[in-house]
Subunit: 378 residues, 4 copies
């Protein structure tokens, strides 16, 4: 078995989650390619060195340009804020490195399109790329996709997606980079709305064709992180709501917010179809609910514990009933990415998939800017 030398750019929340994946994936999955945690890149040398020590990287660096072109790197894993994704990814792809990039793919549609094109070109040379919609790889979500593909819900009538957080309810919460449009692109929309839109499309296999949306910034000024006595403007949305239609005729509602008091990280997705329904809720992440009307008057939503060895990804882990946690989606992502590289196939979600989500985010922003006017996707 050969190895793949990973360079990871960024070492905050996502960096820790990705490190956990690179550290453990080959201990549970037969990936055909052992990852080496070669180099961690950050802007501040001292803090990067500390993070590298804690997270277990072989070395650290501060110049990502040098690293992504280095002969000693096979995979570039981008865990930085969205404003830097395009530049890093384009350079890495140009250097022939496989690229795993956190979502949203970019901060603008234009950047995302460029990245998708570059990824498609690189794929001709066997260079693989993937965007990090990790929630796809929660076993219950993957099972939801499998079951819908097998016909478990029939013709889809409704998709109901919510991603609810509450970390901004307090107006004294500081103006972090995620609240600044130049860094983050958008707010709840791109950070968590992107996930719920991706999950809706991923699980159903349908594409959203049009949207009507509204966004809102409930708290417009917040204290600066470095100097709480001063405040700055919040330049992104706090919340987004949208209606949508899919190419399969489904009627959808979506919501993403950081102001749903008490809902820490509640991703809710329900699909109702002509022959059944499926519902997922990340607060109970090892469970998928399934309603099958063929049980007649003994029908009811079944609480499937997605911990059986026949469920996606589960055989690698623990016995039935011994659930997984948030981080396992990252391990599964690393597994799928490494497997694709080893097998010479293109993994999903591709940069093209990521760009399509970026177009969706763009359409939502456009609709929200025009009083929820209907905005069609190409």
């Amino acid at each position: 078995m050969s190895t793949a030398r990973v360079a990871m750019i960024g070492h905050a929340f996502m960096g820790a989650a990705h490190s956990q994946a690179w550290r453990n994936v080959h201990r549970f999955f037969d990936v055909g390619l052992t990852p080496q945690m070669s180099v961690l890149v950050g802007r501040d040398a001292t803090r990067t060195a500390e993070a590298g020590e804690t997270l277990g990287w072989q070395r650290t660096a501060t110049d990502w340009r040098e690293v992504v072109t280095s002969d000693e790197v096979d995979i570039v894993d981008i865990c930085t804020p969205g404003d830097t994704h395009a530049e890093i990814a384009l350079a890495a792809l140009a250097a022939g490195k496989h690229v795993l990039c956190e979502k949203p793919l970019a901060n603008t549609v234009a950047e995302a399109d460029l990245m998708a094109e570059a990824a498609q070109r690189a794929a001709h040379d066997g260079v693989r790329s993937m965007v990090g919609f990790t929630y796809r790889r929660v076993p219950a979500v993957s099972l939801m996709r499998e079951m819908i593909a097998e016909g478990a819900v029939g013709t889809i009538r409704h998709i109901r997606g919510t991603y609810l957080q509450d970390w901004l309810v307090d107006p004294a919460s500081p103006l972090v980079w995620r609240l600044q449009a130049d860094k983050a692109g958008s707010g709840a929309l791109g950070d968590i709305g992107a996930h719920i839109l991706d999950l809706a499309q991923f699980t159903t296999g349908q594409r959203i064709t049009g949207v009507a949306a509204q966004t809102e910034t409930f708290v417009t000024e917040r204290p600066l992180p470095d100097d709480p006595s001063r405040s700055g403007a919040v330049t992104v949305d706090d919340a987004m709501v949208a209606l949508a239609r899919t190419d399969g005729g489904a009627l959808c509602t979506f919501e993403a917010t950081r102001f749903a008091t008490g809902r820490r990280n509640r991703i809710g997705l329900e699909v109702n179809g002509s022959h059944g329904s499926l519902a997922f809720n990340f607060e109970d992440m090892n469970v998928l609910e399934h309603y099958d009307p063929s049980d007649g008057d003994r029908s009811g939503f079944r609480r499937i514990q997605v911990t059986e060895p026949t469920h996606p990804y589960v055989a690698a882990w623990w016995p039935p009933g011994h659930g997984l946690g948030y981080e396992h989606g990252f391990v599964h992502q690393a597994r799928d990415f490494l497997t694709a590289i080893a097998e010479g196939s293109d993994p999903t979600p591709s940069f093209t998939d990521g760009a399509q989500i970026q177009h969706l985010l763009g359409a939502i922003e456009q609709s929200a800017g025009q009083q929820a006017s209907w905005t069609s996707l190409p």
Copy 2:
């Protein structure tokens, strides 16, 4: 204690529910006015006589015009399809009868406005009127309103309302009157959407100021009830989705559908505010969930069993933990209507409230007819 002689028009589903209320209300509540189930009115003499016998009415009749002007009637209770509400209610009010009218108040905004005006005029003469949004009187819903009024959620950020049914999923389900625009006005929109819009406004005390909506008829032809070998056109919506804003600055999503497979009668209402959240779900109708962040890191959604004697309406019934059912909302409605008559006050929801909901339904239809364009309410 004096009595109030009730004439009820209509004896189907709603007629049975209202009869249960008139039969029992004074056995549990001190209403100051004992209802007499005087006369039941229906179109077909035989079937009306049978219903009167079953439901316990003193006599039956087929000519509502005669009944609503009779000296032997004090209260007219309208349980017919929406296309007849206006005519009956206007005649009854003109005859000085107190009127309880099922929702939606009418099939058109014009009719509803006429009814509201007539009710306001009649009120000057001590004639009372009320529209039957009974879900307001589920104790958990009434408690939700009380708690919001007391500040339990603070400034409201989000309202999330769904009314999900599934009785039309089967395309062989027949073309009943509720699927015909001339009888029912609209489909899921007016039948159940009206309820969830009313509940959102009732519990929060806020008014919806604008909407963007879509409606859909998934199954456009259905067999005729009397001759299943022939089919007819469904002329109402099967489902409605909407975004909305309130005068209090909340961002809302609403959905009403008869195609949510497995969701028999799921009314879901969640309100997130700056200082708390409340959530109700009719499948668990004796419970109200409350999140209070002041519990610090021991906060969590509390499952309040709304069966304490201090909760709205509950003292009249059973000990704590012995829940109520669907029909009790009708008993509470009769209690509040009779009490208002006895006390000489105007009950709520008034016909004016009913007309406001009708304007909302009209705005939703208008928006849905214009590709979800934003439609403001006056």
Copy 3:
């Protein structure tokens, strides 16, 4: 259709619940015999007259002996504390009246056996009797019995029954009759333990053959209801726990307590068998949970909403998804009792069934008095 003239003895909590049943049963069910609420009997003339007025009885009386032998009474409904059951029931049966008696059937095994014998004798003359284990008639519980009888769980391995209340947690709660052995016989054991034991046997069709039990009185002195400055001894148990075996080989645990803080009236019953499991919880009384392993890796506990017209008792009521409440069990009980009288059959649970429960309660008390020593039932 003929009528049955009912005399009810007692007008407290149970009296109100039974009145609701007699008032409404024939409005929803075709019972073949219309109940007349003829006479209400209580000890205090004034309070009984008030209760009769409120609850809707035609007349009231204070001498139960006179009433139960009156020619103007067909049914005697006993809603008094347990110490009076035997005397009243024996007199009524001797007078040829049909008798409905609240549970537990009596305060002692000896009384219960006498009552069972009297009821069996009376049955030869067409006199019917029944004991009021109303929770059997919650639709979800009746469905549980049906499904087990049909093989939904296979060979039963485990029965897990709990009846949890919390109304005695406060040591200042007064010394009501339910806490006095001479009136109530026992405490949690007979009041609510009797229910959970009955439900376990009713749903599974199995009989308990032996028990090991413990009881406890956590608060031994309480203020007198009429003079809180004085206190008296609690002479019944506050809580009971038991292990048991059934004639079908199941291993059981049971618990009944008035000290489960936060559990107002939580009846929990779970049955695990070789081919499935069923679970009921009265806090969610319109639901039955069913696990069917034949769904393979898509198996999960199904949340069956027991509101379909094909479910027991449900067709008489509201459309699917519109749940029932606590009181409906009493209506169903009246329906089954009246139907049995009209059809000339013996209803269940019979006094013999009630006496068998009394033997169980006796065995539990005996075991608890001997440090949980195993106590076999005949």
Copy 4:
């Protein structure tokens, strides 16, 4: 920071879980002592070598005696079946190695007592030992203990513990070592009953003083793993039920079974006290339910998501709402064991704690062998 060289004996289910802990603990926690995965010991050289490669151990060996006395080992981690625990642990302690031993501590009370004595002697020389009741270290369970210690429930009235599995429901499931008394000591009793008994004592801080129990083997013959055409006798219990009392006056029920169809790994623990209740359920392992009556008529069981940085162990992981899984208990166990070694303190649960559980298991077996006769603990 110095390192601790770990030798792990056994590489099946528990071996994989412990490896995950040793591999990751220092990446999330500041443990003062970095574990080195030095040597993995198994009986079969080939399979051990494969496991060592997969799990990431530096070398493998087959002679545990040599390893536990080696100068190159600091910690011995025992993950073998219970019949070997005593011998290995005694040797390791004698050699001055810190010992982490899986539960149950031993297969007999005598062995467990020997181990506890040896551990106490070793502790005088700074040698640390700990038994692997990992469920204590699920954050919600640790929080439950904290809250009870702080008075969140007041005087404890009831403890209700169940550990329900269903992996033996199928009679064709093979006769693995866990079903053989000579290897496993007991069945559900020692394997999972030990956990629920430990959790009850751990969270409440009380000790069980007496028990009455029954055990059952529902399927007495099973196919041999290596030759399914032949069968052998199951020599352990399939299920255990028990009543118990604690030194704090609580009345308890316990159940452990491998025959609860549909319950894969459901650990349920509820504690009711004079001033509140707490409930945990491993199927929803990131949640603790708390009932606080001081919320008055707005009281209800609060669903606390135990994912806040102030909750036990949580700060090391992900943001609020991003839950943990089964394996994290093992990481926390490694963290606490390493921290104790580094700080020179004795970790808990100690071998003495493990022996106390063994005495409990012995008392349960004794009671079950004498028809549930009450059996007191010293």
